[in-house]
Symmetry: C3
Subunit: 478 residues, 3 copies
């Protein structure tokens, strides 16, 4: 291989240096130590995870089950599976980039969730009287959510960046996320329990903007590796299915207790089912002989969950959920068929996993669907208290009308897009410095650059030959 | 490949047309639109998922946790994993039919659950005063259960039918399921929390009857593809293990609150453990050199869960559960060794996954085991109230004795079998029309017919050669 | 292959007999029948899973939700996934031993949990007045935990023993576990909710001692199979990720209700995130070109969960958890890099999965970390009642001080190590009898010995050739 590489570099110009032996450990160590220091200064257990809770329980006459843990923990674990197995395996579809897909997903999520606990803590749970952030189970869910945006962005640049660049993408991604989330959820007082706006729309456009800045005109030189093989597609289906199955938990994990979580899970379940059928229909229609394309089945089937990210908590009705899933399955598959190739040719935008069609557009549309459903909410449908609880019309928002809420929800979508596009462009330029260890155009989509790969399966010799050979070898050695 | 196919068709007679470019999208679109219309007319949120619940909560002095969501959601998600990852990956064992296994499983479950919400709703949750069906988390579990029967049927015809045929199998399967379930659970007032009768016995015989009608005398022509490879067997183990681990949730998901769910999960867990050991024992005994057969490990180990589908909710005792698992592991493995080959040779019944041994027979036996355990129930073992709660001896069933209950349970098994066999035969004849796009006998068990397959792994050329070749190619183009 | 084997045996001396056709079924049948008898004599439903509970509920004015089932079931299912998918798939990394990894893991866990219900029942839940053991959901979690120790031990001897030997390892492993657990938790009154001591430290040293006794000086003869291939490493990542994601459930599954479970899950989550970063850092530093090693990513990332097994329930603080994860990630990766090769060369200790670095050492250190955190506990940090609840300072332990508790915790670690080392050495000698059907040194790490393997993928012939050949063959036959 060594020789082959050298001659290749002579032929194509100097090969880039993908050695991250200094930069990757340095980033990991420095940032992890920073996390320890910042956690030491700021982060403490909240009331319900602190050992003092047993005394609180007595004084407030609570039962064990009223600990938030029991409302959220099963959903948290489902979300956790989506982040690490769902996103990780969804990206293993490339024939020789599966280690990086699942491994770097693991690395950046593990870093991102720590930084998210801090960033989200400062913006949402900072107690000015003590100067501390108090965390509990809901913080863990939100930290996982926050990572999701950066993992979505990873989908656009999959195969083209180094792990050090991914750490940078995550550092800025989490930071930007916390700010836009604060603006959308706190300042605009939007509802977005499944994060169609704050997670998917932001994460999608963030990744697209980065990828646009990092455009590689000669990426076709790695074309031989930019595709799947039979078993890599099956590994990707593990990711798809865990995402698909647990999406009801994703959308309902931090929804209101009781009917809120209940309705959110149901609406998401229904919309997802519907988007599977229209995805299959469009995929079959688009190919001669009516054959299905794994890319569509792996991705567009999930768009129903994204598009319900905001509206699932509202009274969108079961058939409303079906309609959303129906349309978004078509839109997303259409995107894979025509929009992604168009973006690549015309806009010089290379989007490895097609996050434009699975996250950016469905997230944006999901935000607007939420705005419309919110604007049309009425007391007869929600009940007076239901309206207050669902949209949080309490305190200084007591007099906000559903129509106004709809307007603010729509504004939220624009904020998410703006943060994604501008933030992504800036991060993209940072990543263009020639110091990050990314691969040359000829060596993209290849685990070889960052992983010790096992020898090929074909090289298992039969026992006798092998051992004879070994024995001879040993004799020669001695 | 094209040439090869043509010459093959000359040799073997006309090749069937597997082009589903019109029929598959048509079925998906028409049925999905029908779902939207019917959901619009009939389906509404139930009391606990409607935004009005917060007012109900106040008037009835409920706590958030009493929302049914918290009793059922963790079990629901486990069942959901079984349906999509469990059944889907269990069937990936064939070397070149894994896309269809996991992909069509995905498609028909996503359609089936929508149709199930309607069919089960009309039979069980229809409110005549409003003309609506009210759904909640338990409806979602039941919809997943209902799909399971059709997915079981898929196991018998795996590799031999087109996706359009599978949609038809599911449409009728769900319809028949809702009717037989209504007869068994409502009219006969049987208990069947894990669906040994209504799901496994019905689904198993339904699939066998379809496969019997669709008998292909020349299926041996696809023999080269009717087997596994090393990694496809490992993918199948993912399915097996998720089914095995979550079977306690499957059986307990809609069991009675409290001790009902608790006992059902425990009994199932114990029975499953026992069936693993007897499966291994019989598998090893049956082969020279005592080697284990992956087919047995992948399937017969699960029979313990099926056979406990009815009795797990009763006081069958922990050692009773062990005995059930012990026997059913032997029976199921014996079935794979001798009964399936016998059925194929003598009864002209081709059963790709051996659902006869994993679902039909264990389901039927599970129904009778439930009948016996019910018939021997006594007040001393259950307590007076326990007996009433476990068997639902309230209202017009107040005076039913355990013995009578046992009789009705046994009758339920017969109803399930009859529906499966007769319904399956009829559906089989419908599927014989030559319009469905199924493959010819030479091309069964092959994803090629319905999927765009990636190129082979072996064809990755080294970078230099490939790019030299590309460069030359480009020069020639220009 | 037959010929090749014969000539190999001539060359290398007599090949061992791996035929387990008598021994494996015999062990499975005899032990399973023994389980049925012992369950029949001893095991009954506990109060909360018995049908009498509905009467108890009335008299004690309980709600359904107060049934222990709802506190523990979601965590139980996560632990169950770790045992069967987590441990099973983690060991599939070898290129030709994946069937045995996942299949024998399945077998011994299914046996072990039954034996564990009995052994742990006799030691912890035996009611002398009735002579019965009463089991519930917590017993199932503990049974799964108990199996984990034997599955850890399997990691050290992976590829070198027969399934019959594994059954013996499990029988003794579960027995020893129950005794050491009784000494540590009951007699010494240690806290160890995640089992750093009783599960990981014991299981690790148990496996190492067995492997040390079973040292194979000529194991290099199987070197061709003692490695991974691309896809086997991906299957192993499924195991890694499910272990990593669900470790918070593992540590918190039997922790105290309320803040206990809440805090334990959080601390574990945080420590695990930290150990991912230091593992990646050290792995990259250790290789020229900074390439990552899958062995480290698959294993050392999990060490954070092991090391928090004892302390996670205590008020170790979030930054304390980060520090533990930080250090243990370094220690574990260092172990894979230098200690395992050293042990093999100098101590004649062959440790296939490197359990020394993932379980033995992190478990031991986790025990001591727990001891230190316990010793420094104070009323100001825990509150008076919190201290009592967390460390169980009630009854005869009412006057135990945190300092004393720390001492006992440290003593517990020593007990676990001693049981592991001595017990493992004894079991190792038992396994040296030449009756167990283990493979010769040339045929280790090979599924061929115990599994019917499918033909190779390469042998799929094109349809025409194959069928022509078949047709000719048939003609000749007739």
């Amino acid at each position: 291989m060594g020789n082959c590489c050298e001659s290749a570099s002579n032929f194509f110009g100097p090969q880039k240096n993908t050695n991250v032996r200094v930069s990757l450990p340095a980033v990991c160590f420095v940032w992890q130590i920073a996390m320890i220091v910042l956690f030491g200064v700021f982060i403490r257990y909240d009331e319900e995870s602190d050992a003092h809770w047993v005394e609180l329980k007595k004084t407030e006459n609570l039962t064990d089950l009223q600990n938030e843990f029991y409302f959220r923990y099963p959903s948290f674990q489902d979300v956790h599976v989506m982040i690490f197995v769902g996103f990780g395996f969804l990206m293993t579809f490339l024939k020789r980039y599966s280690f990086s897909a699942v491994g770097f997903n693991f690395l950046i999520a593990a870093f991102g969730l720590q930084w998210a606990l801090l960033m989200q803590g400062w913006f949402h749970h900072f107690d000015y009287s003590t100067g501390k952030i108090y965390i509990g189970i809901e913080s863990l869910i939100n930290a996982d959510f926050c990572c999701a945006a950066s993992l979505i962005a990873y989908g656009a640049i999959l195969g083209k960046v180094s792990p050090v660049q991914l750490m940078v993408v995550t550092l800025f991604g989490v930071t930007l996320f916390a700010v836009e989330e604060y603006i959308i959820l706190d300042l605009l007082h939007c509802r977005d329990s499944g994060g169609a706006m704050v997670i998917h729309c932001f994460g999608g456009y963030y990744g697209l903007a980065i990828s646009w800045v990092l455009y590689r005109p000669n990426l076709h030189r790695s074309k031989r590796l930019n595709g799947s093989v039979y078993h890599s597609d099956l590994f990707a289906m593990i990711g798809t299915l865990f995402l698909w199955m647990f999406w009801p938990s994703f959308n309902s994990a931090i929804a209101n207790h009781g009917d809120g979580q209940h309705r959110t899970a149901m609406n998401t379940y229904i919309a997802l089912a519907s988007s599977v059928l229209t995805t299959v229909a469009l995929s079959s229609m688009s190919k001669k002989e009516g054959k299905l394309d794994m890319v569509h089945i792996q991705n567009a089937t999930l768009a129903g969950g994204v598009a319900m990210g905001t509206a699932a908590e509202f009274m969108i009705t079961p058939y409303g959920s079906l309609i959303v899933g129906f349309c978004i399955g078509i839109i997303s598959t259409f995107g894979y068929l025509y929009v992604t190739p168009f973006l690549e040719k015309r806009l010089k935008l290379q989007d490895t996993c097609g996050i434009h069609n699975l996250h950016a557009v469905p997230g944006m549309l999901g935000g607007f669907i939420g705005a419309i459903v919110a604007a049309t909410a009425s007391e007869s449908v929600y009940s007076k208290q239901g309206l207050i609880d669902t949209f949080g019309f309490t305190g200084k928002y007591e007099n906000r009308s559903p129509g106004t809420q709809g307007g603010f929800q729509a504004a939220g979508v624009c904020v998410a897009m703006a943060f994604g596009l501008v933030g992504g462009a800036i991060v993209g330029f940072i990543l263009k410095f020639p110091i990050w260890g990314d691969a040359a155009d000829d060596y993209c989509f290849d685990d070889e650059a960052y992983w010790e790969l096992p020898e090929e399966e074909e090289t298992i010799p039969p026992v006798l030959e092998y051992n004879n050979h070994m024995t001879q070898h040993k004799h020669q050695e001695t």
